[in-house]
Symmetry: C2
Subunit: 167 residues, 2 copies
Amino acid sequence: MRCYAQLIAAAVLATLRSLTAAAELTPAPNGLQRPDGYPDWRLIGVSHRTENGTLRAILGNDVAIAAAREGHTKPWPEGTVLAKIVWKERSHPKFATAIVPDALVHTEFMVKNSARYAATGGWGFGRWLGTEQRPYGTDANFAQECFGCHAGAKDSDWVFTTPVHLP
Amino acid sequence: MRCYAQLIAAAVLATLRSLTAAAELTPAPNGLQRPDGYPDWRLIGVSHRTENGTLRAILGNDVAIAAAREGHTKPWPEGTVLAKIVWKERSHPKFATAIVPDALVHTEFMVKNSARYAATGGWGFGRWLGTEQRPYGTDANFAQECFGCHAGAKDSDWVFTTPVHLP
């Protein structure tokens, strides 16, 4: 009985923590909430943007990972969420030719919901800045900036990243 | 009843597939088996080695992720496994300044077992080449090459990667 009580208390505590974390984070100006739990998502790809000196990891939720592994990404299925984590680059202090992450620049998310985000290719865009994760943009039009940049990836459902395949 | 039979059949099939996959992959010359399931592991870091033109993702098993998040990496705990996936770099065809993964070069693993791998800093090293994942090295001494290169990271328990923190 004591064991059950402890389990219930732990579950309540975890739920409260989760709700508190979600409540603290301001949604993007288009109403997009930053997806919870993205640090536990699996790998979709990596990149290095040399023109602005940033390293990136691209992670996907379960829908995204299943689609990537089955090769069903043109288009990505409804419910796909892609996370891009962006850091300033630095040289590794003990390995000068290795470029590694420095400070976090921002996290970015693309949420596939063709009905809700029809104006931006079926994708909801959101970006949260720095370690404080302050939402980017002053009004809902901010997403047009994201979508404009992603125009170059129209042939791959507005997504630049080709998923890696791990043998 | 039919539902149970289907579930059991699926479980048996999954187990057989897993055993077959493990049996097909040759261990490293030091006896290290490539850890199963690493594509589902979570993110520890990314890097770009500019002197040999490769991009890397570093993933960790559950022990590694817990240690990274709690800041207990000097030393990393027993049972830690780190995976490094290495690709040749290429410019993104639609975004020239973005360096992204091309062909897989190899996967590399570090397994913390201080008793078994006392001769190489408590870490078992293994590398599997290309999409066919052929083990690297002709005899167990191959690991001295890995360990020699990791000497520069002695102060951080022979691991170059500083885990990223995701807010």
